[in-house]
């Protein structure tokens, strides 16, 4: 399982989106998120975007006020994950138009839906923005 979890955290350390691909209890998740956020948010722009934490590798990237953190297995390609994060942001940007933290907050289910289109069972299955967004657009039209 390449990707273990995806987190979006603002710079105050509040989680805005959390998607796990393996079962963790609430306490485990709380502890994990706390530790990771503390570790990653303390880092500067000059430092690299990879942090080893427990048996995960965290690949993170900051967009304005929001950190995108992806926990992956140790043999996952870090640069590919960075590209994945960028693809995710671009996709959301295309859908929401100038995506910002508030969009994700108020349309969490859409953000989840996009993620589910892109990642299944921890591996990336879809990388085309059009393909990711088609179902959402259909649903928007239907409702």
């Amino acid at each position: 399982m390449g990707i273990r979890f995806i987190l979006m955290v603002n710079k105050q350390g509040q989680t805005r989106l959390a998607q796990y691909y393996e079962w963790l209890t609430l306490e485990e998740r709380r502890a994990l998120e706390g530790e990771i956020v503390r570790k990653c948010l303390a880092r500067t722009e000059q430092q690299c975007s990879f942090v080893e934490h427990r048996n995960y590798k965290i690949v993170y990237r900051r967009y304005a006020s929001l950190f995108f953190l992806v926990g992956v297995d140790n043999d996952e390609n870090e640069l590919a994950i960075l590209e994945f994060i960028h693809l995710l942001v671009e996709t959301m940007d295309r859908h929401f138009g100038n995506v910002c933290e508030l969009d994700i907050m108020f349309h969490l289910e859409k953000a989840h839906f996009m993620l589910e289109e892109m990642v299944m069972n921890g591996s990336v299955v879809e990388t085309s923005k059009a393909n990711i967004l088609t179902p959402i657009q259909l649903m928007d039209k239907a409702s």
Binding site: Y21, N77, L79, S123, V125, T127
Partner: protein, 941 residues
């Protein structure tokens, strides 16, 4: 209380209201949330599905982002799931994948919902249920829904098919027998040209191959096609990962893929793909020189890039190359060393690892010097990182790379004085270990120990206490190499030792005891020799002592100056005088007197031992020295005997003791250990076992403890001393076998091979020479031309020091999934020999398909085979695996009593399949190996 009224439903807060409300709460967020949860608990019981689903949506939000338990709503989620409306289903599936796990009670109830949606005509409903299945599938779900997933694997809707492919991974993991059903269709999808499908299926194989690559070797031709033809970087990266695993198993495959991978490396503009190529080459294709050179060139580009990410990855790739191609590191050594002071701790650690990889016998001094300087300058965390890696690198393989132990021991001393040093324990272990193993270094060790002990400031640093305890022990044990034992005594008894924890203080006192005994016995020998020789000589020394040695400080200066080997192996100058002995005794009494009442038993007991010993000897000793020699001979006989005794006891050298030595001790006839001690267990039940850190020196120290303990007994009843010594001698005679030979060669070489095995040494040197050739021009610009002295002997204990290599029980783990796959891909060969032989050359894929056709209805075959495997041994195995499975399932089975009856048969069948499966596989193990060697080239060429 009833459910919510219609009014409640009408005025229900939506998720958006909830989020807005949360945003307005600056303080009291918790109160707001618990109020919202109250509402949700009410609303979720509503009969109106929209109210219910909104409640579930809000609950999922709170659970996901605010860590609130939503397990109470699992049943309600199922209710929402049964709604015909898609938007409700979506909410329900989201909630379910968030909150369900293997032990969720209502998990059993979801099977039919999932089955219904999996067979739905609405592709989005199918997609939702597939996604959910990929998150929550357990053994039962995977087994029950395998047929539906199997059908979807060849769905003509790409959207559904790719998700079905992704879900297969989870199904395989949970229910390996599904491989028989689905694997063929999965493989067929590898030949699909659609990037969506390909991406999904390659992702699945990548994960599968990570667990057990060997099983997927027969699929190499398909992967090769993708590697050559695909233009999609995501897919290529996954395929490269698969080849990384496969190529290291099959050299011929490596030969085939090395060129295409190099092509990608040259052509691609994507850093991620480039890095993956580099990683593949350095991990699995390191025999191909040109490829490695190309990869190292790319690594260099990464290293000099501004982007810290690329730098970090470059360093990591370099550390993968390092073991096989050290030149790659040496070529980039400036960048690596420069990275030691990078802003990013991750990069610093990466470069530290690389620097340590460059260490060789010749460069170790140079590199350690550089690193210790870095350690002095850097923050505590990185400082200890550096120290830790120096310590572990230098001690590797019994200090393999250390030639000059004097240098290393003084480096250890220096490292412990670095302010941030927290590696006390490791330094302690190494100091003692080296002291015991390397005879030649002991004088230097005592010297370094003295420097550590004498500095009162070090006692205040708690991290150093362990080092100090090692120093104290070494200077007591090897006191004969001390240039000035009197000064040592002062250091051991200095007032600030009260800062030490009791168990280390006890070591200090014990060492002081040894020093004291040594001084007294030296003094006595001196008396003996002077008494027998001319008396004026003696007189002169006495006079000079009273004149010049007014304090110990003077003494130390004097002695430091003329520290030479005076007598035998003793380094101490023979100038212990009456006065200094008197001072010494007074000092000991003064320092240890207060400890008579120490609350710590260990400290108290040792202090009492020393003081008791002084009481025993002091009076006679002093009297005899005041009166003439004649008296000495008469009256001092007894006390000198005592001192001699103690001296003998302490001067026995302690060797490293094999961990298994105890087991070799011969059990005397008539000793009934078990019977006698059974009763003791009950008595001792309440008594705490001695704290383990009392024996901070590990085994050797315990041994030592034993010896000194018997000595103390001797002291206590000195009348029986002769008997005691003879006992001690006997003890040694008996156990001597289990100490190291230490020069004695009568021990059987089988147990303890000679410490410096010439062949072994030769190998080491050869290796080292290779390394030198690689690093000399780069790292050691001015390395010492020749070592002044040869490397001293390092005593080895084969049993203890041989690295405990975990005995591999099996070639690969007994994984039922890989077993199933392997069985599918290889096993057919044995079952249908005629068909595979007939079309051996050429058409690999067609052959496989042909075989697979025979397997299109695996269920039938499984049932049929059950009967055939009836021999007793395999039957037993079946039962065992069956039992295992039962145990594994037992938790769930409690909740599934009613299902049990129907499910039982099926379960039994499946576990029988497992058993048969495994046992057959084991039997065929050799066959498989030979099959691989013949089969793979066919596939490749």
């Amino acid at each position: 209380m009833s459910g919510p009224s219609l009014m409640d439903s009408l005025f229900q807060r939506t998720l958006e209201d909830l989020i807005k409300g949360l945003r307005q709460q600056l303080i009291g967020e918790q109160a707001f949330i618990s109020k919202a949860l109250e509402e949700i608990r009410k609303e979720i019981k509503s009969t109106d599905l929209s109210t219910k689903s909104t409640a579930l949506l809000k609950l999922s939000y709170l659970s996901s982002l605010h860590f609130h338990d939503m397990s109470f709503a699992t049943f309600h989620a199922l209710e929402v799931l049964s709604s015909p409306r898609f938007s409700h289903k979506k909410i329900a599936y989201h909630g379910i994948s968030l909150s369900f796990h293997d032990s969720t009670p209502v998990l059993l109830l979801i099977t039919n919902h999932l089955r219904k949606d999996l067979t739905s005509t609405n592709e989005f409903e199918v997609s939702l249920s597939l996604q959910c299945l990929s998150r929550i599938a357990n053994v039962d779900l995977a087994r029950d829904l395998t047929p539906e997933v199997f059908i979807l694997l060849s769905s003509n809707k790409l959207y559904v098919r790719k998700k079905a492919i992704a879900v297969v991974l989870r199904v395989f993991e949970k229910y390996p027998d599904s491989v028989r059903v689905c694997f063929k269709r999965l493989v067929e999808n590898l030949e699909n040209s659609d990037p969506q499908i390909l991406s999904a299926v390659v992702g699945v194989f990548c994960e599968l191959a990570c667990k057990d690559a060997r099983s997927y070797l027969p699929l190499a031709p398909e992967f090769y096609k993708i590697l050559v033809n695909s233009k999609n970087n995501w897919i290529l990266i996954k395929v490269l990962k698969i080849f990384t695993k496969l190529a290291s198993l099959e050299p011929r495959l490596a030969k085939r893929v090395v060129e295409p991978i190099c092509d990608h490396m040259r052509r691609t503009g994507a850093k991620s793909l480039l890095f993956e190529c580099v990683q593949t080459v350095v991990t699995s294709l390191s025999e191909y020189d040109s490829a490695v050179r190309l990869a190292v060139g790319k690594i260099r580009e990464f290293l000099v890039d501004e982007d810290p990410n690329l730098k970090y990855l470059g360093l990591r790739a370099l550390s993968i190359v390092a073991p096989k191609h050290l030149w790659a590191v040496s070529e980039n050594k400036e960048v690596v060393i420069k990275s030691l002071s990078d802003a990013d701790p991750n990069i610093k650690i990466g470069s530290l690892r690389l620097v340590m990889a460059m260490v060789s016998e010749h460069s170790v001094a140079e590199i350690s010097r550089v690193l210790v300087n870095y350690a002095l300058k850097s923050d505590p965390e990185f400082c200890n990182e550096i120290l830790g890696s120096i310590l572990s690198t230098c001690s590797r393989n019994l200090y393999e790379i250390i030639v000059d132990f004097d240098w290393y021991v003084s480096l250890l001393g220096e490292m412990s004085k670095i302010p941030h040093c927290q590696k006390g324990e490791e330094i302690e272990n190494q100091l003692i270990d080296i002291g015991m193993r390397v005879k030649d270094v002991r004088p230097e060790l005592v010297h370094v120990s003295r420097d550590l002990l004498i500095d009162p400031a070090l006692l205040g640093n708690t991290f150093l206490h362990r080092v100090l305890s090692a120093a104290a022990w070494a200077s007591g044990e090897y006191v004969e190499f001390s240039r000035n034992p009197l000064e040592l005594m002062e250091a051991l008894l200095q007032p600030r030792t009260c800062l030490l924890p009791p168990h280390i203080r006890a070591i200090y006192i014990q060492s002081a005891f040894k020093v004291l005994v040594f001084c007294l016995s030296t003094y006595l020998m001196q008396w003996g020799s002077t008494a027998s020789s001319a008396s004026p000589d003696n007189l002169r020394s006495g006079v000079s002592a009273s004149v010049s040695y007014e304090s110990f400080d003077n003494l130390s200066v004097e002695n430091g100056a003329d520290a030479t080997v005076t007598r035998g192996q003793t380094y101490t100058s023979a100038s212990i005088t009456n006065e200094s002995i008197l001072n010494l005794l007074n000092l000991v009494e003064l320092a240890l007197g207060p400890l008579f009442e120490s609350p710590d038993v260990e400290v108290q007991e040792r202090a009492r031992n020393v003081l008791g010993f002084i009481d025993l000897t002091k009076l006679e000793l002093l009297n005899s020295s005041v009166q003439g020699e004649k008296d000495l001979e008469r009256r001092g006989v007894e006390c000198s005997k005592t001192i001699e005794l103690m001296h003998d006891a302490f001067s026995k050298e302690l060797g490293p003791v094999s961990l298994s030595a105890q087991g070799k001790v011969y059990l005397p006839d008539g000793l009934m250990l078990v019977e006698n001690l059974v009763g003791m267990e009950m008595i001792c039940a309440d008594i705490e076992p001695p704290s383990s850190n009392l024996f901070s020196f590990g085994i050797p120290y315990e041994e030592k403890d034993g010896v000194s303990f018997s000595n103390l007994q001797i002291e206590a009843d000195s009348e029986e001393s002769n008997e005691a010594t003879s006992l001690l001698a006997e003890h040694r005679k008996r156990h001597g076998l289990y100490y190291l030979p230490l020069g004695k060669s009568e021990i059987i070489s089988n147990d303890y091979p000679p410490a410096n095995d010439p062949t072994l040494q030769g190998n080491i040197n050869d290796n080292a020479d290779d390394l030198v050739k690689l690093t000399e021009e780069s790292l050691v610009p001015k390395r010492k031309s020749n070592h002044a002295k040869p490397r001293p002997v390092v005593v080895k204990l084969d049993e203890v020091d041989a690295k405990p290599v975990g005995v591999k029980k099996a070639e690969y783990k007994d994984d039922s999934l890989s077993g199933a796959v392997r069985d599918f891909l290889y096993g057919m060969k044995d079952m249908v020999p005629t068909s595979s032989q007939s079309n051996l050359p050429g058409k690999a894929s067609s052959k496989r398909k042909g075989k697979e056709k025979q397997h299109t209805d695996p269920h039938v075959e499984t049932k049929g085979n059950l009967v055939d495997y009836g021999n007793p041994s395999s039957r037993r195995r079946k039962h065992r695996s069956h039992g295992k499975e039962r145990k594994h399932r037992s938790a769930r089975e409690k909740n599934a009593e009613e299902r049990e009856d129907t499910g039982q048969k099926e379960k039994e069948k499946s576990s029988y399949c497992h058993g048969r499966h495994k046992s057959r596989q084991r039997a065929e193990e050799p066959l498989n190996v030979s099959a691989q060697t013949t089969v793979i080239p066919d596939f490749l060429l």
